[in-house]
């Protein structure tokens, strides 16, 4: 597909990288000369320096032939103009990042039609929804859903006294058969795509596919008790911080928002009803003690300063907060944050990339979740009628499913099924595959004819 991306920031450049690797014909426009130059040398795509709001520049970048525009500059207004121009040039699908709820929120005076945007992406909203899921799922470090939310892919930290710790997958599946599938084990710096003989160990991060209904049954295999979420502390009266507080204050009794800037505190207090807004710093141990951070089921560090987020989360953990979630703008910090004991890291931009990719992938690929740390992806696919995967028991394909890949789940009659050797996949059934980046192309080949 021919795709025109405007904006070469973290979202834009990441998208170009992934889409170019998937053989899409991608061009990128950025108004900053240095950025355009740097990306041009690095990315496998046509990169232009120029104003994305200029028809002439967009024409040069191939908007006439483009089937999709993705406008992800830092300016909502520019993103809207790109989409409007895209419509006038006959671009079929227009995706744009819009942050300001005055433009895209429920009370916006601009209708969808006027905005000319098919899919509005708001990285903060996506991040807030993800954090909400993480907060209310004890132990979860990552969450994504598939098959219209019927199937969950979740990451969990295996605690010391976890009932399943020390057991092999084989021995677990003898007792709890076919309810979930552990698709990856992250141990230290090693990523294991496990087979039956592999063992779950304490401190592993495990990634699990399961029907969403099974979640509480699975949680009980990791944790003997799950505390009800009663108190959440947020550091940073940012868009993320205030947005999360707004979502949480309706669901639980005690939400505290801390920010060192008085003006931002005032603004937050005006926009929040039940949240306690405190002027101060979560890097101050006295303040943490005063707000009884030890009683909090979750601490979310959502300032725009990565270092402050990490440091304050370590402090909060030290004072007894159950789960710590940090906002990290720098993707390279994510694995480190987890290594030093923080529970989950959120990068709104990468989350936005994941969501945009879902709209780009079409046809046989329904959705994708990219796990940066594991260098792996979970992909929801539909095999074509005469694909090698169709019509034969999976066991017969064993030799063709590459190392590092798993056929994780099949959707049959609206229900998730964990495939076994004798499972036969029918054409047009949704299949969720988990694979390392290296193994993915070989697996995908099993879903199309003449492979």
């Amino acid at each position: 597909m021919r795709i025109l991306i405007v904006g070469g920031g973290a979202v834009g450049s990441n998208l170009v990288e992934q889409l170019a690797a998937e053989k899409h014909d991608v061009s990128l426009v950025d108004s900053r000369e240095e950025v355009a130059k740097a990306l041009g040398g690095k990315l496998d795509a046509q990169v232009l320096h120029g104003n994305g709001g200029s028809p002439q520049v967009l024409e040069e970048a191939g908007i006439r032939e483009a089937e999709m525009t993705i406008a992800v500059t830092d300016s909502d207004e520019l993103n809207m103009i790109v989409s409007l121009l895209g419509r006038n040039y006959g671009v079929k699908t227009r995706i744009a990042r819009i942050r300001n709820p005055e433009y895209s929120g429920p009370s916006s005076k601009l209708g969808r039609e006027q905005l000319a945007i098919d899919h509005i992406i708001n990285p903060e909203v996506i991040a807030i929804e993800t954090m909400e899921k993480l907060i209310f799922t004890a132990g979860a470090t990552e969450v994504a859903d598939f098959a219209g939310q019927k199937v969950l892919l979740m990451g969990f930290l295996v605690p010391k006294d976890a009932p399943i710790a020390g057991r092999t997958l084989q021995s677990i599946s003898e007792i709890v058969p076919d309810q979930f599938l552990i698709v990856a084990i992250h141990r230290g710096s090693e990523v294991i795509i496990p087979r039956g003989g592999d063992r779950i160990e304490e401190d592993d991060r495990i990634y699990v596919l399961m029907p969403q209904e099974i979640l509480p049954l699975f949680q009980a295999q990791l944790y003997r008790r799950v505390e009800k979420v009663r108190k959440v502390v947020i550091f940073g009266a940012t868009r993320l911080g205030i947005g999360l507080a707004q979502r949480l204050e309706g669901r639980l009794g005690d939400v505290v928002l801390v920010d060192p800037d008085a003006a931002r505190c005032n603004d937050a207090a005006e926009r929040l009803n039940k949240t306690t807004v405190l002027h101060g710093s979560a890097l101050d141990p006295d303040l943490l003690a005063e707000i009884r951070i030890g009683n909090a089921q979750a601490y979310c560090a959502l300032t725009e300063d990565d270092a402050a987020n990490v440091m304050s989360a370590l402090l909060a953990k030290d004072h007894g907060a159950t789960k710590t979630i940090v906002n990290l703008a720098e993707p390279d910090f994510v694995p480190i944050a987890e290594r030093i004991g923080l529970d989950a890291a959120i990068n709104p931009r990468l989350l936005a990339v994941n969501v945009i990719l879902r709209y780009v992938r079409s046809g046989r690929i329904l959705s994708v979740f990219h796990l940066e740390e594991l260098k792996a992806e979970a992909v929801e696919l539909v095999p074509s009628t005469r694909a090698p995967l169709v019509g034969v028991p999976l066991a017969q394909l064993a030799g063709r499913i590459p190392q590092g890949a798993l056929v994780g789940a099949v959707m049959r009659e609206g229900q998730m099924l964990i495939p076994r050797g004798d499972t036969v996949i029918a054409p047009n059934e949704r299949v969720i595959v988990f694979a390392t980046e290296k193994a993915l192309p070989d697996v995908q080949r099993l879903f199309v004819e003449n492979a």
Binding site: P163, I164, R167, I172, I175, V176, P177, D178, Q179, P211, E213, I214, P216, L217, F218, Q219, A220, Q221, L222, Y223, R224, R225, V226, K228, R412, Q415, M416, L417, I418, R420
Partner: protein, 158 residues
Amino acid sequence: MKLGDIIPDGGILDDLQATEKEPVIRELVAALVKTGRVADSASAKVLKALMDREELGSTGIGSGVAVPHAKHDAITDLVCAFGRSKKGINFDALDGEPVQVVFLLLSSKSASGSHLEALAFISRLVRDEKFVKFLREAKDAADIRDLLNEADETLGKS
């Protein structure tokens, strides 16, 4: 799958006597033996399979509900027993609260789809706190069966 079909006559106990996990599970297995759906000779092994499963994490999923389950060769068709406790059961549940409503599920080792389907169905069902309250306050076994049949009708469609 319909709950009404997999809970045999006599498979509903509206007043569980035991208040601890294992005796409760035993009570429900005994009820299934009485209905003929579990062979008497297999009951000890089935009980062990259910308790082994509990070892790997309590099936007390919170809000006063537990769904002990196991697969065993001695079982031919998917079968469920329902128990209601008026006193509350110490089930070592995820939320630490006592359990009043128990769905015990057994299936053959080869049945994978139907077992998971039934578990998922029950999990969806008990998410409705009002429904759980109705089960807790139901008058008798017949009343409970009516409630479960009703749930089959409404939830089965969605």
